[in-house]
Symmetry: C2
Subunit: 272 residues, 2 copies
Protein backbone atom coordinates (compact mmCIF):
# COMPACT_ATOMS: atom_id res chain seq x y z
CA UNK A 1 0.00 0.00 0.00
CA UNK A 2 1.18 3.41 -0.86
CA UNK A 3 1.49 5.65 2.12
CA UNK A 4 1.76 9.36 2.11
CA UNK A 5 4.67 9.28 4.44
CA UNK A 6 7.36 6.67 4.81
CA UNK A 7 10.13 8.78 6.20
CA UNK A 8 11.64 8.80 9.63
CA UNK A 9 9.22 11.59 10.45
CA UNK A 10 6.49 9.04 10.96
CA UNK A 11 4.74 9.39 14.28
CA UNK A 12 5.50 6.88 17.02
CA UNK A 13 3.68 3.56 16.90
CA UNK A 14 0.03 3.48 17.86
CA UNK A 15 -3.13 4.07 15.91
CA UNK A 16 -1.47 5.93 13.09
CA UNK A 17 -3.43 7.77 10.49
CA UNK A 18 -2.91 5.23 7.76
CA UNK A 19 -4.50 2.64 10.01
CA UNK A 20 -7.82 4.43 9.88
CA UNK A 21 -7.79 5.18 6.18
CA UNK A 22 -9.81 3.10 3.83
CA UNK A 23 -7.32 2.12 1.20
CA UNK A 24 -4.44 2.93 -1.04
CA UNK A 25 -6.37 5.56 -2.99
CA UNK A 26 -5.30 4.44 -6.43
CA UNK A 27 -5.88 6.63 -9.41
CA UNK A 28 -8.13 4.58 -11.66
CA UNK A 29 -6.62 3.88 -15.03
CA UNK A 30 -3.05 4.50 -14.01
CA UNK A 31 -0.77 2.10 -12.31
CA UNK A 32 0.71 4.75 -10.08
CA UNK A 33 -0.64 5.26 -6.59
CA UNK A 34 -2.23 8.66 -6.11
CA UNK A 35 -0.14 10.72 -3.80
CA UNK A 36 -2.33 12.14 -1.10
CA UNK A 37 -0.71 14.53 1.35
CA UNK A 38 -1.37 13.92 5.00
CA UNK A 39 -3.25 17.17 5.40
CA UNK A 40 -5.61 16.15 2.61
CA UNK A 41 -6.33 12.93 4.43
CA UNK A 42 -6.94 14.87 7.63
CA UNK A 43 -9.23 17.14 5.68
CA UNK A 44 -11.17 14.08 4.60
CA UNK A 45 -11.51 12.95 8.20
CA UNK A 46 -12.69 16.37 9.30
CA UNK A 47 -15.18 16.36 6.45
CA UNK A 48 -16.42 12.99 7.65
CA UNK A 49 -16.96 14.32 11.15
CA UNK A 50 -18.85 17.27 9.70
CA UNK A 51 -21.02 15.09 7.51
CA UNK A 52 -21.78 12.58 10.24
CA UNK A 53 -23.08 15.32 12.48
CA UNK A 54 -20.39 14.78 15.12
CA UNK A 55 -20.03 18.55 15.14
CA UNK A 56 -23.22 20.61 14.96
CA UNK A 57 -23.79 23.75 12.92
CA UNK A 58 -22.34 26.76 14.63
CA UNK A 59 -20.57 24.70 17.30
CA UNK A 60 -16.85 24.68 17.97
CA UNK A 61 -14.78 21.77 16.76
CA UNK A 62 -11.87 20.51 18.89
CA UNK A 63 -8.82 22.74 19.10
CA UNK A 64 -5.98 22.28 16.66
CA UNK A 65 -3.84 20.74 19.37
CA UNK A 66 -6.58 18.26 20.26
CA UNK A 67 -7.04 17.28 16.64
CA UNK A 68 -3.31 16.96 16.17
CA UNK A 69 -3.20 14.58 19.10
CA UNK A 70 -6.21 12.63 17.86
CA UNK A 71 -4.74 12.08 14.42
CA UNK A 72 -1.17 11.85 15.65
CA UNK A 73 0.11 14.57 13.37
CA UNK A 74 1.61 17.98 14.02
CA UNK A 75 -0.48 21.06 14.65
CA UNK A 76 0.76 22.51 11.37
CA UNK A 77 -0.73 19.65 9.43
CA UNK A 78 -4.22 19.90 10.91
CA UNK A 79 -3.88 23.65 10.47
CA UNK A 80 -3.41 23.26 6.77
CA UNK A 81 -6.40 20.94 6.58
CA UNK A 82 -8.56 23.39 8.50
CA UNK A 83 -7.25 26.23 6.35
CA UNK A 84 -8.70 24.65 3.24
CA UNK A 85 -12.04 23.95 4.88
CA UNK A 86 -12.12 27.54 6.07
CA UNK A 87 -11.44 28.80 2.54
CA UNK A 88 -14.33 26.68 1.32
CA UNK A 89 -16.54 28.23 4.00
CA UNK A 90 -17.16 24.93 5.77
CA UNK A 91 -15.39 26.09 8.90
CA UNK A 92 -14.90 29.52 10.43
CA UNK A 93 -11.84 30.41 12.48
CA UNK A 94 -12.09 32.89 15.32
CA UNK A 95 -8.81 33.84 16.87
CA UNK A 96 -8.74 33.31 20.58
CA UNK A 97 -12.02 31.42 20.55
CA UNK A 98 -11.76 28.40 18.35
CA UNK A 99 -12.84 26.96 15.02
CA UNK A 100 -16.56 26.65 14.31
CA UNK A 101 -18.81 24.82 11.92
CA UNK A 102 -20.09 27.33 9.38
CA UNK A 103 -23.81 28.01 9.49
CA UNK A 104 -26.40 29.92 7.51
CA UNK A 105 -28.08 31.21 10.65
CA UNK A 106 -25.84 34.13 11.44
CA UNK A 107 -26.82 37.70 10.80
CA UNK A 108 -23.58 38.57 9.09
CA UNK A 109 -23.90 35.85 6.48
CA UNK A 110 -27.67 35.92 6.06
CA UNK A 111 -27.34 36.35 2.34
CA UNK A 112 -24.35 34.14 1.69
CA UNK A 113 -25.99 32.57 -1.33
CA UNK A 114 -28.04 35.53 -2.53
CA UNK A 115 -26.14 37.75 -4.90
CA UNK A 116 -28.96 40.18 -5.57
CA UNK A 117 -28.21 43.53 -4.00
CA UNK A 118 -29.98 46.88 -4.13
CA UNK A 119 -28.80 49.59 -6.49
CA UNK A 120 -27.21 51.39 -3.55
CA UNK A 121 -25.05 48.36 -2.90
CA UNK A 122 -26.02 48.48 0.74
CA UNK A 123 -28.23 45.65 1.87
CA UNK A 124 -28.74 47.01 5.32
CA UNK A 125 -30.51 50.06 3.97
CA UNK A 126 -33.43 48.16 2.53
CA UNK A 127 -33.96 46.04 5.62
CA UNK A 128 -34.82 42.36 5.77
CA UNK A 129 -36.70 40.57 3.02
CA UNK A 130 -40.43 39.89 3.43
CA UNK A 131 -40.90 36.21 2.71
CA UNK A 132 -44.19 34.84 1.41
CA UNK A 133 -44.57 31.11 1.05
CA UNK A 134 -47.08 30.43 -1.71
CA UNK A 135 -47.17 26.69 -1.38
CA UNK A 136 -45.25 23.54 -0.57
CA UNK A 137 -46.33 20.47 -2.48
CA UNK A 138 -45.21 16.90 -2.55
CA UNK A 139 -44.97 15.60 -6.11
CA UNK A 140 -43.04 13.34 -8.44
CA UNK A 141 -39.80 14.53 -9.96
CA UNK A 142 -39.93 15.54 -13.59
CA UNK A 143 -37.10 14.48 -15.83
CA UNK A 144 -35.44 17.88 -15.46
CA UNK A 145 -35.71 17.98 -11.70
CA UNK A 146 -34.55 14.38 -11.40
CA UNK A 147 -31.49 15.06 -13.53
CA UNK A 148 -30.55 18.06 -11.42
CA UNK A 149 -30.91 16.26 -8.11
CA UNK A 150 -29.48 13.05 -9.55
CA UNK A 151 -32.46 11.03 -8.44
CA UNK A 152 -34.81 8.91 -10.51
CA UNK A 153 -37.51 10.51 -12.55
CA UNK A 154 -40.76 10.03 -10.64
CA UNK A 155 -39.15 9.97 -7.20
CA UNK A 156 -40.93 12.01 -4.55
CA UNK A 157 -39.82 15.62 -4.23
CA UNK A 158 -41.07 18.66 -2.38
CA UNK A 159 -41.76 21.78 -4.37
CA UNK A 160 -41.76 25.11 -2.61
CA UNK A 161 -42.83 28.34 -4.21
CA UNK A 162 -42.26 31.67 -2.56
CA UNK A 163 -41.92 35.39 -3.18
CA UNK A 164 -39.37 37.70 -1.59
CA UNK A 165 -40.11 41.38 -1.34
CA UNK A 166 -37.83 44.24 -0.36
CA UNK A 167 -39.36 47.37 1.05
CA UNK A 168 -42.74 46.05 0.06
CA UNK A 169 -41.75 45.47 -3.57
CA UNK A 170 -41.98 41.89 -4.79
CA UNK A 171 -38.56 41.22 -6.27
CA UNK A 172 -37.88 37.49 -6.32
CA UNK A 173 -40.09 34.59 -7.31
CA UNK A 174 -38.60 31.23 -6.51
CA UNK A 175 -39.42 27.59 -7.07
CA UNK A 176 -37.47 25.03 -5.08
CA UNK A 177 -37.30 21.28 -5.44
CA UNK A 178 -36.00 19.14 -2.59
CA UNK A 179 -35.64 15.38 -2.35
CA UNK A 180 -38.52 14.22 -0.16
CA UNK A 181 -36.41 11.84 1.93
CA UNK A 182 -34.07 14.19 3.73
CA UNK A 183 -36.77 16.84 4.09
CA UNK A 184 -39.54 14.63 5.37
CA UNK A 185 -42.08 16.65 7.30
CA UNK A 186 -41.40 20.00 5.69
CA UNK A 187 -44.63 21.97 5.29
CA UNK A 188 -45.67 25.42 4.15
CA UNK A 189 -46.69 26.17 7.75
CA UNK A 190 -43.25 25.28 9.07
CA UNK A 191 -41.66 27.47 6.43
CA UNK A 192 -43.94 30.38 7.26
CA UNK A 193 -43.34 30.17 11.00
CA UNK A 194 -39.58 30.14 10.67
CA UNK A 195 -38.01 33.54 10.93
CA UNK A 196 -34.69 33.32 9.14
CA UNK A 197 -32.98 32.10 6.00
CA UNK A 198 -34.42 28.90 4.57
CA UNK A 199 -31.00 27.27 4.63
CA UNK A 200 -30.82 27.95 8.35
CA UNK A 201 -34.08 26.07 8.79
CA UNK A 202 -32.71 23.20 6.72
CA UNK A 203 -29.73 23.02 9.07
CA UNK A 204 -31.76 23.21 12.24
CA UNK A 205 -34.63 20.95 11.30
CA UNK A 206 -33.15 18.48 8.87
CA UNK A 207 -29.43 18.58 9.51
CA UNK A 208 -28.81 19.49 5.89
CA UNK A 209 -26.05 22.03 5.36
CA UNK A 210 -25.77 23.68 1.96
CA UNK A 211 -22.15 24.13 1.31
CA UNK A 212 -21.72 25.11 -2.32
CA UNK A 213 -23.91 25.98 -5.27
CA UNK A 214 -23.75 26.57 -9.00
CA UNK A 215 -25.94 29.07 -10.77
CA UNK A 216 -26.90 29.39 -14.42
CA UNK A 217 -28.16 32.84 -15.25
CA UNK A 218 -30.17 33.98 -18.23
CA UNK A 219 -32.41 36.86 -19.25
CA UNK A 220 -36.02 35.83 -19.81
CA UNK A 221 -39.53 37.17 -20.20
CA UNK A 222 -41.97 35.95 -17.56
CA UNK A 223 -45.25 34.24 -18.36
CA UNK A 224 -48.64 35.49 -17.21
CA UNK A 225 -48.61 33.73 -13.86
CA UNK A 226 -45.11 34.88 -13.05
CA UNK A 227 -46.04 38.45 -13.96
CA UNK A 228 -48.96 38.44 -11.59
CA UNK A 229 -46.97 36.92 -8.72
CA UNK A 230 -44.29 39.54 -9.09
CA UNK A 231 -46.76 42.28 -9.97
CA UNK A 232 -44.88 43.35 -13.07
CA UNK A 233 -46.26 44.04 -16.55
CA UNK A 234 -45.77 41.45 -19.27
CA UNK A 235 -42.66 42.13 -21.26
CA UNK A 236 -40.57 42.97 -18.20
CA UNK A 237 -37.19 41.28 -18.63
CA UNK A 238 -36.13 39.23 -15.59
CA UNK A 239 -33.06 37.37 -14.49
CA UNK A 240 -33.58 33.64 -14.51
CA UNK A 241 -31.33 32.05 -11.89
CA UNK A 242 -31.14 28.28 -11.85
CA UNK A 243 -29.33 27.07 -8.79
CA UNK A 244 -28.08 23.65 -7.85
CA UNK A 245 -27.05 23.56 -4.20
CA UNK A 246 -24.82 20.86 -2.75
CA UNK A 247 -24.22 19.54 0.72
CA UNK A 248 -21.04 17.69 1.74
CA UNK A 249 -19.45 15.22 -0.64
CA UNK A 250 -20.84 17.16 -3.62
CA UNK A 251 -24.30 15.74 -3.06
CA UNK A 252 -26.95 17.88 -4.78
CA UNK A 253 -29.75 18.63 -2.33
CA UNK A 254 -31.72 21.45 -3.83
CA UNK A 255 -32.69 22.65 -7.25
CA UNK A 256 -33.94 26.20 -7.32
CA UNK A 257 -35.28 28.40 -10.03
CA UNK A 258 -35.46 32.10 -9.30
CA UNK A 259 -36.80 35.05 -11.23
CA UNK A 260 -35.18 38.29 -10.13
CA UNK A 261 -36.54 41.72 -10.89
CA UNK A 262 -33.47 43.80 -11.68
CA UNK A 263 -35.19 47.11 -11.72
CA UNK A 264 -33.87 48.39 -8.43
CA UNK A 265 -31.40 45.57 -7.82
CA UNK A 266 -28.58 43.84 -9.61
CA UNK A 267 -26.82 40.50 -9.41
CA UNK A 268 -23.34 41.08 -8.08
CA UNK A 269 -20.37 38.95 -8.99
CA UNK A 270 -16.65 39.08 -8.38
CA UNK A 271 -14.08 37.84 -10.87
CA UNK A 272 -10.55 36.79 -10.00
Amino acid sequence: MHMARTSSNDPPAGQSLTDVLAGPALTPGTGTPAFSPLYQQIKGLLLQSLQSGEWKSGAAIPSELDLAARYRVSQGTVRKAIDELAVENLLVRRQGKGTFVATHSEQQVQYRFLNLVPESGDRASEGPAQRTIIDCKRLRASADVARGLTIRSGDAVLQVRRVLAFGGVATILEDLWLPAGPFKGLTAERLRSYDGPMYALFEAEFGVRMVRAEEKIRAVLPDEQQCSLLAVPTGTPLLSVERLAYTYKDTPMELRHGLYLTDKHFYRNELH
Copy 2:
Protein backbone atom coordinates in the same frame (compact mmCIF):
# COMPACT_ATOMS: atom_id res chain seq x y z
CA MET B 1 8.24 52.30 15.42
CA HIS B 2 6.13 49.23 15.76
CA MET B 3 7.71 46.17 14.33
CA ALA B 4 6.00 42.97 13.47
CA ARG B 5 8.57 40.92 15.25
CA THR B 6 10.57 41.77 18.30
CA SER B 7 11.36 38.33 19.60
CA SER B 8 14.65 36.50 19.72
CA ASN B 9 13.69 34.95 16.43
CA ASP B 10 14.74 38.11 14.68
CA PRO B 11 17.19 37.52 11.87
CA PRO B 12 20.83 38.43 12.34
CA ALA B 13 21.82 42.04 11.80
CA GLY B 14 21.98 43.37 8.27
CA GLN B 15 19.44 44.90 5.97
CA SER B 16 16.41 43.58 7.81
CA LEU B 17 12.94 43.80 6.38
CA THR B 18 11.83 46.59 8.61
CA ASP B 19 14.66 48.68 7.21
CA VAL B 20 13.08 48.67 3.79
CA LEU B 21 9.52 49.26 4.93
CA ALA B 22 7.95 52.64 4.62
CA GLY B 23 6.64 53.24 8.08
CA PRO B 24 4.94 52.03 11.19
CA ALA B 25 1.67 51.29 9.41
CA LEU B 26 -0.62 52.90 11.92
CA THR B 27 -4.33 52.33 11.78
CA PRO B 28 -5.81 55.77 11.25
CA GLY B 29 -8.12 56.83 14.01
CA THR B 30 -6.79 54.44 16.59
CA GLY B 31 -3.75 54.91 18.68
CA THR B 32 -2.73 51.29 18.43
CA PRO B 33 -0.22 50.27 15.79
CA ALA B 34 -1.73 47.97 13.19
CA PHE B 35 -0.21 44.56 13.53
CA SER B 36 1.00 43.45 10.16
CA PRO B 37 2.42 39.95 9.92
CA LEU B 38 5.75 39.58 8.22
CA TYR B 39 4.28 37.57 5.37
CA GLN B 40 1.82 40.36 4.65
CA GLN B 41 4.67 42.80 4.39
CA ILE B 42 6.49 40.40 2.07
CA LYS B 43 3.31 40.13 0.04
CA GLY B 44 3.31 43.90 -0.28
CA LEU B 45 6.89 43.87 -1.54
CA LEU B 46 6.10 41.15 -4.07
CA LEU B 47 3.11 43.17 -5.22
CA GLN B 48 5.37 46.14 -5.67
CA SER B 49 7.75 44.16 -7.85
CA LEU B 50 4.79 42.98 -9.91
CA GLN B 51 3.39 46.44 -10.31
CA SER B 52 6.71 48.05 -11.17
CA GLY B 53 7.19 45.59 -14.01
CA GLU B 54 10.30 44.04 -12.45
CA TRP B 55 8.74 40.70 -13.33
CA LYS B 56 7.02 40.42 -16.73
CA SER B 57 3.74 38.69 -17.48
CA GLY B 58 4.23 34.96 -17.77
CA ALA B 59 7.81 35.08 -16.55
CA ALA B 60 9.17 33.25 -13.54
CA ILE B 61 9.81 35.16 -10.35
CA PRO B 62 12.83 34.26 -8.18
CA SER B 63 12.64 30.99 -6.29
CA GLU B 64 11.29 30.90 -2.76
CA LEU B 65 14.77 30.37 -1.39
CA ASP B 66 16.10 33.36 -3.33
CA LEU B 67 13.27 35.55 -2.10
CA ALA B 68 13.74 34.32 1.45
CA ALA B 69 17.39 35.34 1.23
CA ARG B 70 16.55 38.69 -0.35
CA TYR B 71 14.08 39.61 2.37
CA ARG B 72 16.00 37.83 5.13
CA VAL B 73 13.06 35.72 6.23
CA SER B 74 12.43 31.99 6.23
CA GLN B 75 11.19 30.13 3.17
CA GLY B 76 7.94 29.41 4.98
CA THR B 77 7.20 33.10 5.32
CA VAL B 78 7.67 33.96 1.64
CA ARG B 79 5.72 30.78 0.89
CA LYS B 80 2.75 32.11 2.78
CA ALA B 81 2.99 35.43 0.97
CA ILE B 82 3.15 33.70 -2.41
CA ASP B 83 0.27 31.44 -1.38
CA GLU B 84 -2.04 34.40 -1.01
CA LEU B 85 -0.98 35.92 -4.31
CA ALA B 86 -1.53 32.56 -5.97
CA VAL B 87 -5.03 32.33 -4.50
CA GLU B 88 -5.76 35.78 -5.90
CA ASN B 89 -4.54 34.58 -9.29
CA LEU B 90 -1.68 37.06 -9.43
CA LEU B 91 0.91 34.32 -9.40
CA VAL B 92 0.84 30.75 -10.63
CA ARG B 93 2.86 28.00 -8.97
CA ARG B 94 4.21 25.12 -11.02
CA GLN B 95 5.82 22.39 -9.01
CA GLY B 96 9.31 21.61 -10.12
CA LYS B 97 9.45 24.64 -12.39
CA GLY B 98 8.91 27.77 -10.40
CA THR B 99 6.41 30.52 -9.67
CA PHE B 100 5.16 32.63 -12.58
CA VAL B 101 3.40 35.91 -13.09
CA ALA B 102 -0.18 35.19 -14.09
CA THR B 103 -1.14 36.20 -17.60
CA HIS B 104 -4.25 36.37 -19.76
CA SER B 105 -2.41 35.02 -22.80
CA GLU B 106 -2.57 31.34 -22.06
CA GLN B 107 -4.89 28.98 -23.82
CA GLN B 108 -6.10 27.37 -20.63
CA VAL B 109 -7.26 30.64 -19.10
CA GLN B 110 -8.45 32.37 -22.27
CA TYR B 111 -11.81 33.01 -20.74
CA ARG B 112 -10.80 33.74 -17.18
CA PHE B 113 -13.08 36.76 -17.00
CA LEU B 114 -15.86 35.56 -19.31
CA ASN B 115 -18.54 33.62 -17.49
CA LEU B 116 -20.77 33.03 -20.48
CA VAL B 117 -20.70 29.38 -21.46
CA PRO B 118 -22.65 27.37 -24.04
CA GLU B 119 -25.66 25.34 -23.02
CA SER B 120 -23.57 22.18 -23.25
CA GLY B 121 -21.23 23.58 -20.63
CA ASP B 122 -18.28 22.75 -22.85
CA ARG B 123 -16.50 25.73 -24.31
CA ALA B 124 -14.18 23.72 -26.47
CA SER B 125 -17.08 22.35 -28.48
CA GLU B 126 -18.08 25.70 -29.90
CA GLY B 127 -14.56 26.73 -30.82
CA PRO B 128 -13.00 30.16 -30.45
CA ALA B 129 -15.01 33.38 -30.53
CA GLN B 130 -15.12 35.46 -33.69
CA ARG B 131 -14.22 38.99 -32.69
CA THR B 132 -15.43 41.99 -34.65
CA ILE B 133 -14.17 45.41 -33.66
CA ILE B 134 -16.80 47.95 -34.61
CA ASP B 135 -14.90 51.02 -33.62
CA CYS B 136 -12.40 52.56 -31.25
CA LYS B 137 -12.95 56.22 -30.52
CA ARG B 138 -11.21 58.75 -28.37
CA LEU B 139 -13.68 60.88 -26.45
CA ARG B 140 -14.34 62.67 -23.19
CA ALA B 141 -15.51 60.71 -20.16
CA SER B 142 -19.16 61.08 -19.28
CA ALA B 143 -20.07 61.44 -15.64
CA ASP B 144 -20.91 57.73 -15.41
CA VAL B 145 -17.72 56.58 -17.05
CA ALA B 146 -15.64 58.98 -15.00
CA ARG B 147 -17.19 57.78 -11.77
CA GLY B 148 -16.45 54.16 -12.67
CA LEU B 149 -12.84 54.77 -13.62
CA THR B 150 -12.39 57.30 -10.80
CA ILE B 151 -11.14 59.95 -13.18
CA ARG B 152 -12.51 63.41 -13.79
CA SER B 153 -15.54 63.91 -15.93
CA GLY B 154 -14.34 65.13 -19.31
CA ASP B 155 -10.97 63.38 -19.15
CA ALA B 156 -9.91 61.62 -22.33
CA VAL B 157 -10.98 58.00 -22.62
CA LEU B 158 -10.99 55.39 -25.37
CA GLN B 159 -14.24 53.73 -26.23
CA VAL B 160 -14.16 50.37 -27.95
CA ARG B 161 -17.20 48.63 -29.32
CA ARG B 162 -17.11 45.06 -30.50
CA VAL B 163 -19.22 41.99 -31.16
CA LEU B 164 -18.32 38.43 -30.25
CA ALA B 165 -19.88 35.58 -32.17
CA PHE B 166 -19.80 31.87 -31.45
CA GLY B 167 -20.26 29.45 -34.31
CA GLY B 168 -21.23 32.38 -36.47
CA VAL B 169 -23.95 33.58 -34.09
CA ALA B 170 -23.49 37.07 -32.69
CA THR B 171 -23.79 36.61 -28.94
CA ILE B 172 -22.06 39.45 -27.14
CA LEU B 173 -22.10 43.17 -27.80
CA GLU B 174 -19.61 45.08 -25.71
CA ASP B 175 -18.66 48.67 -25.06
CA LEU B 176 -15.40 49.34 -23.25
CA TRP B 177 -14.03 52.52 -21.79
CA LEU B 178 -10.32 52.85 -21.02
CA PRO B 179 -8.39 55.77 -19.57
CA ALA B 180 -6.57 57.30 -22.55
CA GLY B 181 -3.27 57.71 -20.71
CA PRO B 182 -2.23 54.14 -20.05
CA PHE B 183 -3.64 52.98 -23.38
CA LYS B 184 -2.12 55.66 -25.59
CA GLY B 185 -1.84 54.47 -29.16
CA LEU B 186 -4.59 51.87 -29.04
CA THR B 187 -6.47 51.77 -32.35
CA ALA B 188 -9.18 49.68 -33.94
CA GLU B 189 -6.59 48.33 -36.38
CA ARG B 190 -4.32 47.17 -33.58
CA LEU B 191 -7.27 45.47 -31.91
CA ARG B 192 -8.29 43.76 -35.16
CA SER B 193 -4.81 42.49 -35.94
CA TYR B 194 -4.31 40.96 -32.51
CA ASP B 195 -5.26 37.32 -32.31
CA GLY B 196 -6.03 36.62 -28.68
CA PRO B 197 -7.90 37.92 -25.66
CA MET B 198 -8.03 41.67 -25.36
CA TYR B 199 -6.56 41.53 -21.86
CA ALA B 200 -3.55 39.68 -23.30
CA LEU B 201 -3.02 42.56 -25.71
CA PHE B 202 -3.29 45.01 -22.82
CA GLU B 203 -0.55 43.11 -21.02
CA ALA B 204 1.73 42.83 -24.02
CA GLU B 205 1.31 46.30 -25.48
CA PHE B 206 0.58 48.49 -22.49
CA GLY B 207 1.86 46.58 -19.50
CA VAL B 208 -1.58 46.70 -17.93
CA ARG B 209 -2.60 43.52 -16.14
CA MET B 210 -6.25 43.08 -15.20
CA VAL B 211 -6.27 41.33 -11.91
CA ARG B 212 -9.77 41.48 -10.54
CA ALA B 213 -13.20 42.65 -11.64
CA GLU B 214 -16.68 43.26 -10.34
CA GLU B 215 -19.79 42.68 -12.40
CA LYS B 216 -23.32 44.01 -12.01
CA ILE B 217 -25.83 41.92 -13.91
CA ARG B 218 -29.35 42.80 -14.94
CA ALA B 219 -31.97 41.67 -17.44
CA VAL B 220 -32.75 44.31 -20.05
CA LEU B 221 -34.38 44.86 -23.41
CA PRO B 222 -32.05 46.12 -26.13
CA ASP B 223 -32.69 49.25 -28.16
CA GLU B 224 -32.92 49.35 -31.95
CA GLN B 225 -29.21 49.73 -32.59
CA GLN B 226 -28.30 46.95 -30.18
CA CYS B 227 -30.83 44.65 -31.80
CA SER B 228 -29.35 45.18 -35.23
CA LEU B 229 -25.79 44.68 -34.05
CA LEU B 230 -26.70 41.42 -32.40
CA ALA B 231 -29.19 40.49 -35.12
CA VAL B 232 -31.97 39.74 -32.67
CA PRO B 233 -35.60 40.85 -32.83
CA THR B 234 -36.74 43.68 -30.60
CA GLY B 235 -38.13 42.39 -27.35
CA THR B 236 -35.40 39.79 -26.91
CA PRO B 237 -34.34 39.87 -23.25
CA LEU B 238 -30.57 40.16 -22.80
CA LEU B 239 -28.16 40.03 -19.91
CA SER B 240 -26.64 43.39 -19.17
CA VAL B 241 -23.19 42.90 -17.65
CA GLU B 242 -21.47 45.97 -16.30
CA ARG B 243 -17.87 45.22 -15.43
CA LEU B 244 -15.30 47.25 -13.60
CA ALA B 245 -11.85 45.71 -14.00
CA TYR B 246 -8.94 46.54 -11.73
CA THR B 247 -5.20 46.27 -12.04
CA TYR B 248 -2.84 46.10 -9.04
CA LYS B 249 -3.52 48.24 -6.00
CA ASP B 250 -7.26 48.15 -6.75
CA THR B 251 -6.88 50.70 -9.51
CA PRO B 252 -9.84 50.61 -11.89
CA MET B 253 -8.60 50.43 -15.46
CA GLU B 254 -11.56 49.41 -17.56
CA LEU B 255 -15.28 49.93 -17.54
CA ARG B 256 -17.15 47.52 -19.75
CA HIS B 257 -20.78 47.13 -20.63
CA GLY B 258 -21.80 43.87 -22.23
CA LEU B 259 -25.06 42.57 -23.63
CA TYR B 260 -25.20 38.80 -23.64
CA LEU B 261 -27.63 36.75 -25.67
CA THR B 262 -28.61 33.91 -23.36
CA ASP B 263 -30.45 31.90 -25.91
CA LYS B 264 -27.85 29.18 -26.35
CA HIS B 265 -25.58 30.28 -23.53
CA PHE B 266 -25.81 31.07 -19.85
CA TYR B 267 -23.81 33.03 -17.32
CA ARG B 268 -22.18 30.60 -14.93
CA ASN B 269 -21.44 31.37 -11.32
CA GLU B 270 -20.19 29.43 -8.34
CA LEU B 271 -21.29 30.14 -4.78
CA HIS B 272 -19.34 29.22 -1.69
